[in-house]
């Protein structure tokens, strides 16, 4: 998979150069944006709410036992905002949207639709990649923001409702506010922006380089998802390390 990194960087660069054309393609950007939202919003809410809840459930009793109940809000708030929400949403979106991008562009390639575009002097990068990349780069950070709030809410509800924790909403929230800066949330959202670019570039690249008939589409989809996730995990470590300093 790494031999294609050069091609992917080139694809990303050429898409960046096309950014001034985004306004022309705004309808396609909006279509893609709402498609991503429609496909994922409910899942994002459920996933983040229960993740926040389970983190509270796992850490809450431990902390309360040791008299550190006032830290639960901080632990949940911090881990959700900086790591769990961006990472889980990226994996979710790689599976749902990255796969769809690779499949759609891949089938356009197999069925010569992309050749047809090129004969009409229409660049597949302008027509296909640009709107998808812009849409996912806008949508994923938004979804992650929602996921952070959903995760916090899940933690808050579990802490207040569970007898073994029994930390009031007010206590949870004030702990969260003292532990989590705006900067921490911004870090998480920024990471998700980078993850979105990775998913978009990897998936579009896989789609565009699809070969070998309908089976090739299947291969491209799998590779798009798996490669996105691998690159995201590596980037996650590097970004976290860089953002710490």
């Amino acid at each position: 998979m790494f031999q294609n990194i050069g091609e992917m960087v080139l694809l990303f660069w050429r898409t960046l150069l096309a950014l001034p054309l985004t306004w022309r393609q705004r309808r396609k950007v909006l279509d893609q944006f709402f498609e991503i939202g429609n496909a994922s919003l409910l899942t994002v809410c459920i996933l983040s709410f229960f993740t926040g809840g389970v983190i509270a459930l796992q850490t809450g009793p431990l902390l309360v036992e040791r008299g550190l109940g006032s830290y639960v809000g901080g632990v949940v708030g911090y881990s959700i905002a900086k790591e769990l929400a961006p990472m889980m949403m990226a994996i979710l979106i790689a599976g749902r949207i990255g796969s769809a991008m690779a499949a759609e562009i891949g089938s356009m390639r197999i069925y010569q639709e992309i050749d047809a575009l090129r004969t009409m002097n229409i660049s597949p990068i302008h027509y296909l990649v640009l709107p998808r990349l812009v849409a996912i780069a806008l949508a994923l950070p938004l979804l992650v923001t929602i996921a952070i709030l959903g995760g916090w809410l899940g933690g808050l509800v579990v802490c207040a409702a569970n007898d073994h924790i029994a930390v009031s909403s007010a206590a949870f929230f004030s702990a969260l506010r003292s532990a989590v800066d705006v900067q921490d949330v911004a870090n998480g959202v920024f990471k998700s922006f980078m993850f979105a670019l990775i998913i978009g570039v990897v998936s579009c690249h896989q789609g565009l380089t699809t070969r070998g008939g309908p089976r090739g589409i299947g291969r491209s989809v799998t590779k798009a998802v798996v490669n996105s996730i691998i690159i995201i995990v590596i980037f996650d470590y590097l970004l976290t390390r860089i953002l710490m300093t």
Binding site: S107, Q112, M120, N121, I122, Y127
Partner: protein, 262 residues
């Protein structure tokens, strides 16, 4: 754009020593031929002989390993050619964008390049669809069309750019005989109306001998012969005769004396 069509002329093509291999297998083995401006040039040959690959080279979708392709004397790779001359290809499968309606497919070129306001585009689209006998199908999706209808939409999509060169890849395969006649007529009509240069790849001997100014027979990436339909029909090369006969006529058998050719 319509105003310019009166003094629009087809372009001439020169192909010199064209070679192309895929994965070590040589598909085009040194092709040389000229297509004159405004002529209908038909390429016949068995499946896998490299006809589609040749067409892709002629519209710049593939780069040759060796040799050159000149459009009006300029190499096809030069950026001027693509902007100066309008060329269109009708793909064998139609290659319509499956996510767009018929009308959006046909109007795509004008729309993406912002050549006309939407109402004008809709008018031109309707006109081109009418030309190929598909009036009023703008709102259908490609998945709702038969193979033949897709091909006609693809022709309408090619016509909308008012091309100076049209490449047809097997334009009548999958068509019923009536639609095939419509397509053949349209190919001839375009030549008369806008003097477009047409390059037609086809197995369809009726179409080939019906519309061609000249015919090339290719086999295994080599040209066997080029000439007028009469010359090709009378060509002494046994390979050509074998191809023309074997590929299109069943050997007569006593039980099938009156059988139709398939």
């Amino acid at each position: 754009m319509n105003g310019s069509s009166s003094h629009q002329n087809g372009v001439g093509i020169q192909v010199r020593g064209l070679r192309k291999s895929f994965d070590g297998q040589e598909v085009l083995r040194g092709l040389d031929f000229d297509v004159h401006p405004g002529e209908i040039f038909v390429i016949m040959g068995p499946s896998g002989s490299g006809k589609t690959v040749l067409l892709k080279h002629l519209i710049g979708l593939e780069d040759p390993d060796a040799g050159e392709i000149l459009i009006e004397g300029q190499p096809i790779q030069s950026p001027e050619v693509m902007s100066k001359y309008r060329m269109a290809m009708v793909f064998q499968s139609g290659a319509l964008l499956s996510s767009l309606s018929v009308g959006e497919n046909v109007g795509l070129y004008l729309d993406e390049h912002r050549l006309h306001p939407p109402a004008e585009i809709a008018r031109i689209v309707a006109e081109k669809l009418d030309v190929v006998g598909l009036k009023g199908t703008e709102d259908k999706m490609p998945s709702e069309l038969s193979g033949g209808m897709k091909k006609r939409v693809a022709i309408a999509r090619a016509l909308i750019i008012e091309p100076q060169l049209i490449l047809y890849d097997e334009p009548t395969s999958e068509l019923d005989p009536l639609s095939a006649v419509v397509i053949a007529r349209e190919i001839l009509h375009l030549k008369d109306r806008i003097h477009v240069t047409s390059l037609v790849v086809s197995h369809d001997r009726d179409l080939a001998f019906g519309v061609a100014d000249r015919i090339a027979v290719i086999n295994q990436g080599r040209i066997l012969t080029i000439g007028t339909p009469e010359e090709v029909r009378r060509h002494p090369d046994p390979l050509v005769q074998e191809f023309l006969n074997a590929d299109f006529k069943r050997p007569p058998s006593p039980l099938e004396l009156k059988s139709e050719p398939v």
